[in-house]
């Protein structure tokens, strides 16, 4: 069960403007990796590069799951993303959203499984409502259901607790704890409480480079 994410000299530039350069990190299995830094430092972009949504200007992301190095197309089967830039279908209900994403991933779907997942993220009883009618906190909870649907090895969280109330924050803490037992959590946040989850943290924002800090020993 060897799982790891290796970033090799990642650089992203828009034209002549460099967002970050030469980021090299090894994220081992069963750990939490935290990115932090001021707005515009490139946290979201780095997460998108790790997910394979945006190409890096140079450098590579190597994702190994169960000892097997994944090709870029395969990696999406093992990544779950929660991000403010990611939205679910507002014209569909929560259950229909989950049913669709299960179908498109080629996974079996049962209403019971959807119900369990929705209960876990705190949306019990609201599964039949259209997502368009949800509050932003409820949408955020549903995004966790979307990200966990295929039980990914790697969970990527951008601003994990945005729009969430106290119980929501507790659910996220529980999700991170469980995910750490199973694989990897990579997250970008500026909440001091969440930064402390990190086994490793990386501060982005110093022009050109990033600081890698080993987190509290575990």
């Amino acid at each position: 069960m060897q799982t790891k994410v290796v970033l090799k000299k990642l650089t992203k530039a828009y034209g002549r403007r460099r967002l970050f350069a030469d980021i090299s990190v090894t994220i081992p299995g069963r750990s939490v990796f935290v990115l932090h830094g001021p707005n515009g430092a490139g946290k979201t972009t780095l997460l998108r590069i790790i997910c394979g949504l945006v190409p890096a200007t140079s450098g590579e992301v190597e994702i190994t799951v169960d000892g097997k190095l994944l090709a870029r197309e395969e990696s999406r089967e093992h990544i779950g993303l929660v991000s403010p830039e990611l939205e679910l279908y507002g014209e569909l209900s929560a259950v229909e959203n989950l049913e669709f994403f299960a179908g498109v991933r080629g996974l079996p779907f049962s209403p019971a499984k959807a119900r369990d997942l929705l209960t876990f993220v705190g949306l019990a009883g609201r599964g039949r409502d259209l997502v368009g009618t949800y509050s932003s906190g409820m949408k955020q909870r549903l995004k966790y259901a979307y990200a966990l649907l295929h039980e990914p090895q790697i969970l990527v969280l951008d601003e994990p607790t945005s729009n969430l109330d106290e119980t929501g924050v507790a659910v996220v803490a529980e999700i991170i704890r469980r995910q750490k037992d199973r694989g990897i959590v990579i997250m970008a946040t500026n909440e001091p409480g969440e930064v402390s989850y990190g086994d490793q943290t990386l501060a982005l924002g110093q022009p050109g480079t990033g600081h890698l800090v080993q987190g509290p020993a575990h």
């Binding site: 949504l53 990544i79 990611l86 939205e87 279908y89 507002g90 014209e91 669709f100 498109v104 080629g106």
Partner: protein, 220 residues
């Protein structure tokens, strides 16, 4: 065939959303009806030459398609759902799903518009079954070649006339072929098999090339 079954999941999802909002379909339908009525007013009671009638029919279908077909990708892009979809699906099923959706959309448009056109323009059809084949293949080709252009337009991040500008040169052979076939079917002057074969080949080529190129548009 996982591509097809996953593509069908996307097709179902798009149909369901379209059924609830009717956004693309009403755009298509309203566009086609307005042009049709305008043409019919302008023509008045005159019976048109078969070639002219055929050209008018395809001009109406072409512009209606341009008005509605880019919606399917632009909507994903605007709503931000494109990220969720990208992470969940490979490009090929996405293309297949969107292609099937666009074909469905245009078929359901043609079913209403083509008979209405024949009635309003007083056009008789000499070869009804070949005409059906020409319309079906022509409409499928319109939807097929437009799908990848729609994806390009959505990625380009601009709205407005880009869709028509980009799609026109690619659809031109199809339109010429369909007009030629339709004219033959209206007038009944010569064999139509070659036109149908041509439309069939265009459909096949458009589909194959789109499937090959679509990953470059979808992934970055």
């Amino acid at each position: 065939m996982p591509w097809v079954s996953r593509g069908l999941a996307i097709w179902c999802k798009d149909l369901r959303i379209e059924f609830r909002t009717r956004y693309a379909y009403s755009a298509l339908l309203m566009f086609a009806f307005t042009t049709l009525v305008a043409v019919s007013f302008a023509v008045g009671g005159v019976v048109l030459d078969a070639g002219l009638a055929a050209a008018l029919l395809w001009v109406i279908l072409f512009f209606a398609a341009m008005a509605g077909l880019s919606r399917t990708f632009v909507q994903e892009e605007e709503a931000g759902t494109v990220t969720a979809l990208k992470l969940a699906a490979r490009p090929e099923p996405v293309f297949i799903g969107k292609y099937l959706f666009n074909v469905t959309l245009l078929f359901s448009l043609a079913v209403l518009v083509v008979p209405l056109f024949l009635v309003l323009i007083h056009q008789t059809v000499a070869y009804p079954f070949p005409f059906l084949a020409v319309v079906l293949l022509g409409v499928a080709g319109l939807a097929g070649a437009s799908t990848i252009v729609a994806a390009i337009v959505a990625r380009a991040g601009t709205r407005g006339p880009l869709m028509t500008v980009l799609a026109f040169p690619i659809l031109l052979p199809l339109l010429l072929g369909a007009i030629c076939g339709t004219r033959t079917c209206f007038a009944g002057e010569r064999a139509v098999a070659a036109d149908i074969l041509f439309l069939f080949c265009y459909n096949g080529a458009a589909l194959a090339v789109s499937l090959l190129l679509f990953p470059y548009v979808w992934d970055e």
